[in-house]
Amino acid sequence: MHRRTMLKGLGAVASLPLLGSAAHAEDTVKIGLILPMTGQSASTGKQIDAAVKLFMAQNGDSVAGKKVQVILKDDTGVADVTKRLAQELIVNDKVAVLAGFGLTPLALAVAPLATQAKVPEIVMAAATTIITQKSPYIVRTSCTLPQTTVPLADWAAKNGIKTVVTLVSDYGPGIDAAKAFKGRFTKAGGKITGELTAPLRNPEFAPFLQKVRDLKPDALFLFVPSGQGAALMKQVAERELTKAGIKVIATGDVTDDDQLPDMGDSVLGMVTTHFYSAAHPSPENKAFVAAFEKANPKMRPNFMAVGGYDGMHLIYEALKKTGGKTDGTALVDAMKGASWTSVRGPVKIDPATREIIQTVYVRKVEKVDGQLYNIEFDKIPDVVPPSPDGN
């Protein structure tokens, strides 16, 4: 009897500071931003972090009467670290939303936690199709690989390309891209004469590119994750594929704006498809690029930054709709069907799949004021993320 009362008393005392912090938490919405800030994919983390900071600077740090606090964590691009950090953010920091996720395995690692804790997981970068199917709390503001690949397959089929060899990084998004390209391209009557996969952490592309040279297709389709494009394109130039009559086409991940300025003139004329180019000629984008470059000298925003920027926009809009309520299910419901004019063009969150419906642009690398840019010359509006086989 005695002991129990004592325990109760202790419990009451112990819970006092918790009550205090809970009251404090009432007016603050915490967003756990997990990004690879170091390691191989650090450029992804830096771009998204810069975009999130820019969004907060432009739109203020309070929304719907709540103060927004972003807690940035570095997962170094390793999935078990991502999972541990997500757990800490949910349990200790009581974050209302998790965001970021630079690579597919990192996003997948957190999916079960998001479901269990009912915390929305905003995927700002990772682009494998299956991600959003792994938890009803995942909403994506980047793209899926098939979404950006399929328009390229269509373009190739329409522009006299009959045979293609695919060369992709050997992991989720790469396989996704190769499969989508193959499905769509063969349906249009084209032929895939070789399917190559290079290990993800492999800077030596020489044997693969030599194989492509020997297979002599009309075109080579490439995908490597953002940040590896420059190294790959250098070796493509060294192998002189274009001179051998092989056209090089790729998803926009390869001619990523972050690295494009340093790629050299060998990439001039290369055709890619993607959802964002820093050269996108809309007033919204011009203002965004100017503000971004002002806040981050010597850095050009890439599609990762836009994924982060739009992710923040989505979180703010959802909070406005819920009136500042941070219930996870309500937030995700508020995000479903949201549509706005992004710096990339008009976008909408598909209520059924929580994927982003957006315009995909066909671009060509050109020199503007002495700098390399992806210049858009065609677009396919409202591309719904297709099934992984591209049809």
Binding site: Q40, L196, P199, A206, Q210, K234
Partner: protein, 285 residues
């Protein structure tokens, strides 16, 4: 076919220059130096930064990469490594792996984690077409430079006074000391040369391998495989091993891309089953 062989040899040559220093410290001096890749990374960064930030021509950066890495090697040898020669291999492993992590973090902090790219002078880029053989000029350059290096190294170790002193100092330091050989100085010089070569290898390989802060970790396995497969008798073992692995890696990725990066391990396993001491084993003495 010939092109693949050629690319493989070029890749193997770079591996050899990177790893030969390790084959000296690990093979001859019996010191487990997992931090060998750090010196390679330093050399690579010297080249990258000099070229990209100061516009120094590529060829001029190569000797500098060697000197900086060798100097760093000499300093670390005198201040840190010298205390570990007599310690157990486990201590050496723990110490040097710690050094690797510190170097990775330091490079990340100071230079940034992105992969560094260099642009070779036009003289060294492009391709040559010699009949059926279609080769990259830079890879040809690598083969020539590395072949010259190998010849020089082999000559130094087997034919010069320094070489015989080194071998004596390694075989039995006490007797060597008794004969008036300054063992400490020889070890220090050897260590510095090995580090310098690693630096040169990093600089030469910057274009093919890419330089980023995780370089010492990424390539540690390759260095160790070269030394293990090559055995520990002089320069020829690791040289043959590096060429074999380079060709196997490139040919494997070309002919059986499904196996991808596994080929190199397959070769290592096969060699070690047949010759547990490595390709060129030292006698049992």
């Amino acid at each position: 076919m010939l092109t693949i062989l050629f690319d493989g040899v070029a890749y193997g040559m770079v591996l050899f220059v990177l790893a030969c220093g390790l084959s000296v410290t690990l093979g001859l001096m019996n010191f487990v130096n997992l931090a060998h890749g750090v010196f390679a990374m330093v050399g690579g960064y010297v080249t990258v930064l000099l070229m990209n930030d100061y516009g120094v021509p590529f060829l001029a950066t190569l000797p500098l990469a060697f000197i900086v890495a060798a100097a760093l090697g000499a300093v670390l040898e005198r201040t840190l490594y010298v205390h570990l020669y007599d310690r157990s291999p486990l201590d050496q492993v723990l110490f040097t792996i710690g050094l690797v992590f510190m170097a990775v973090a330091a490079a990340d902090y100071v230079i940034g984690s992105q992969q560094q790219l260099i642009y070779l002078p036009p003289m060294l880029s492009g391709r040559l077409h010699l009949g059926a053989l279609d080769i990259g000029v830079y890879r040809l350059f690598l083969i020539v430079v590395c072949a010259v290096l190998v010849a020089i190294l082999h000559y130094i170790v087997t034919r010069t006074r320094f070489g015989s002193r080194l071998r004596a100092a390694v075989d039995d330091p006490r007797v060597a000391r008794g004969l008036g050989i300054n063992v400490n100085a020889i070890f220090a010089l050897t260590f510095a040369m090995g580090s310098g070569l690693a630096g040169l290898g990093g600089a030469l390989g910057a274009d093919i391998l890419g330089i980023d802060p995780t370089f010492p970790l990424k390539y540690m396995i390759y260095f160790l495989i070269v030394v293990t497969v090559g055995g520990t008798s002089g320069m020829m073992g690791p040289f043959v091993a590096a060429i074999l692995l380079g060709v196997a890696d490139v040919a494997g990725k070309y002919y059986v891309p499904e196996l991808g990066a596994f080929m190199i391990y397959g070769v290592m396993i096969a060699v070690l089953i047949l010759r547990p001491q490595g390709l060129f084993a030292r006698g049992n003495a």
